[in-house]
């Protein structure tokens, strides 16, 4: 490996030996692409003219406080995930791969991968926990409409972590022809670094837009954290600035019970899916099943850079329960006319708390996705 792949003591490349050459090839392709103006030209063209970047920064008109929303919900595909699947898709082309595999929980990353598979001409296979397949029938159909094939995963708890296991198993035999398009800034090196770099555009734009609209940096930057790609993308360009960085984890039905996904708040360091990071696990190191109303945050590990930002104290991590997220979802719809994803509602809920404490402080919220996928669930929960 050419980069060290560590964030403090976290990160690394904990995969079976057979996969190390595939990760080395990926790192080399990524670094070469970074130095190749034709790569960034093609990526920037797709981001602007296919995906719709830059996304707006919207100041809330009616919600209390001084809240600004970075509108990744308006990106093609409906969430920030499109940013990085375009980047990885172009890298896969560059490496001569013909097939994409990906894991998905709620189906958003599966849909994003199906988009890039259709656009760039890959055979696309999505691994999805069998339990999630039942819960997310519409997203399964969306993927299939765009030509992707979906494989239900029956092992383990039949959710996201099992889908990642199965994708890794596929990749350990298929890497000569196949790129594993991992969906978040977690997993083995180089994924956490690479995905952050492809998502960095969120914070870069938002920082410039804050300076333009407000004339100064925000006081706090708030984003939800599942695997951690939208948050690390939003945080990256603010890390050296004097602003608070706050990651909001899914507290589910309460972090003192078992039904949550608050990895940084309730997990401890361990090794899962290729990285040393915080992991929700029992005392023996067996991985816990997690819970969140938002399937996109429902993951027992977290990107290793977040683990480092927590331990170094540079970022703060807080929890937001299902019902608080749901209330924020409703408040945004009623006051601003925006239906956001349940994931994003976690960040907004915390921003509303901050605004209540200090109405003057400028708060930048990563509105990572739109809520169309959650409308049916919201109808059931809010009825």
């Amino acid at each position: 490996m050419r980069l060290n792949g560590r964030f403090g003591r976290f990160g690394g490349c904990y995969v079976p030996e057979i996969l190390v050459p595939a990760l080395e090839q990926l790192e080399a392709a990524f670094l070469d692409a970074q130095d190749d103006p034709s790569f960034s030209a093609e990526l920037n063209d797709l981001l602007a003219n296919y995906a719709g970047r830059p996304t707006p920064l919207t100041r809330c008109r009616n919600l209390p406080g001084n809240i600004y929303l970075k509108r990744e919900d308006l990106l093609h595909g409906g969430a920030h995930k499109t940013n990085q699947v375009l980047g990885q898709g172009l890298l896969a082309k560059r490496m001569g791969k013909t097939r994409l595999i990906a894991e998905t929980g709620a189906g958003q990353h599966g849909v994003a991968t199906a988009i890039v598979g259709a656009l760039l001409g890959f055979e696309t296979l999505i691994y999805m926990g069998a339990k999630d397949v039942e819960r997310q029938k519409l997203n399964v159909f969306r993927m299939e409409l765009m030509g992707a094939r979906m494989i239900p995963v029956e092992s383990g708890g039949r959710t996201l972590k099992d889908a990642i296991n199965e994708a890794l198993r596929d990749w350990s035999a298929s890497f000569p022809t196949t790129h594993y398009l991992l969906g978040t800034a977690a997993g083995p090196h180089p994924f956490p670094t690479m995905v952050r770099e492809f998502q960095r555009v969120i914070g870069r734009e938002a920082r410039a837009q804050m300076l333009e609209q407000l004339g100064r940096l925000p006081d706090a930057v708030v984003a939800c954290v599942g695997g951690g790609s939208n948050s690390i993308g939003l945080f990256a360009d603010f890390i050296d600035d004097p602003v608070r960085l706050i990651g909001v984890e899914p507290a589910g039905k309460g972090i003192d019970g078992k039904e949550h996904g608050a990895t940084l708040l309730r997990g401890r360091p361990g090794i899962l899916h290729g990285a040393e990071t915080y992991v929700l696990q029992d005392d023996e190191g067996q991985i816990n099943e997690t819970w969140s109303v938002s399937a996109g945050l429902d993951y027992p590990a977290v990107g290793p850079q977040h683990a480092h930002l927590k331990e170094s104290g540079r970022a703060e991590y807080v929890g937001c329960a299902d019902d608080e997220a749901l209330a924020a979802f409703k408040a945004l719809a009623e006051n601003e006319g925006i239906l956001c994803a349940f994931e994003s509602a976690h960040a907004l809920a915390h921003a509303l708390d901050l605004a209540e404490d200090d109405p003057e402080s400028a708060i930048l919220v990563g509105l990572s996705g739109r809520g169309d996928k959650d409308v049916a669930q919201a109808q059931a929960l809010l009825a």
């Binding site: 995969v15 030996e17 350990s172 361990g270 090794i271």
Partner: protein, 260 residues
Amino acid sequence: MSRYSAMFDRLNGTGAFGAFLMLGDPDVETSAKLLDSAVEGGADMIEVGIPFSDPVADGPVIQAAAQRALSAGVRVQDCFDLIAAFRTRHHDVPVGILTYANIVVARPGFMRDAAEAGADSLLIADVPALEAGPFVREMDQAGIEPVLIAAANTPGPTLERIAKLSKAYTYCVSRAGITGTHAGGRFESGLIDRLRAAGAPPPVFGFGISAPDHVRAALTAGARGVICGSAIVDLAQRGGDVAAFVRSLKASTGNESSAQ
């Protein structure tokens, strides 16, 4: 001399047969009997899994075995107890542990406890040579021998690192992918020759060993032994005769010319 070295010496050029079983599958008591059956069938070395909830290097058979053990409530201490009891019954048979990184790091003193139970080696499936340094140092201090995996696509410098870090044997995978009998294997001498040139510990082929032909092919390619996992675990789960099956494979490890 380590139990592995003594075993390879004793075999005097014939191949070692390694039998893999998941500890605690389907329960502690049955598991202990299965280990004995493997030895009774002629296994020269025993490889044991300590179950992990998320075994990314394993195919369906070993995944299911780990799940059965975990569902039975088997804990890491039960696994060490099984090894310790096995050691009192079989003094000379080398025992190697195969598990995953999170199981090891979750238990301070894992290496020392494993060594004290009587295990001889430790292979951590998701720790490649690149990350093995700190683990190997701890194993060296605890007196348990590190085993690393080598594959056909492992580059030369990594093989040299494997040679430097590992003892016991070198686990050679016969193909890409995960454990299991579904995809067969390719037992080629290229990897064996490269390992020998790098000065690595004796090469032993795993993945895709389920029939006498595979054993012969692996040894003909120059391996010093084979490990059979999924086929044994699958047979045990179906209530088959593990000792007889091991005997049938072990029969193919002899020196062909002297047997004729």
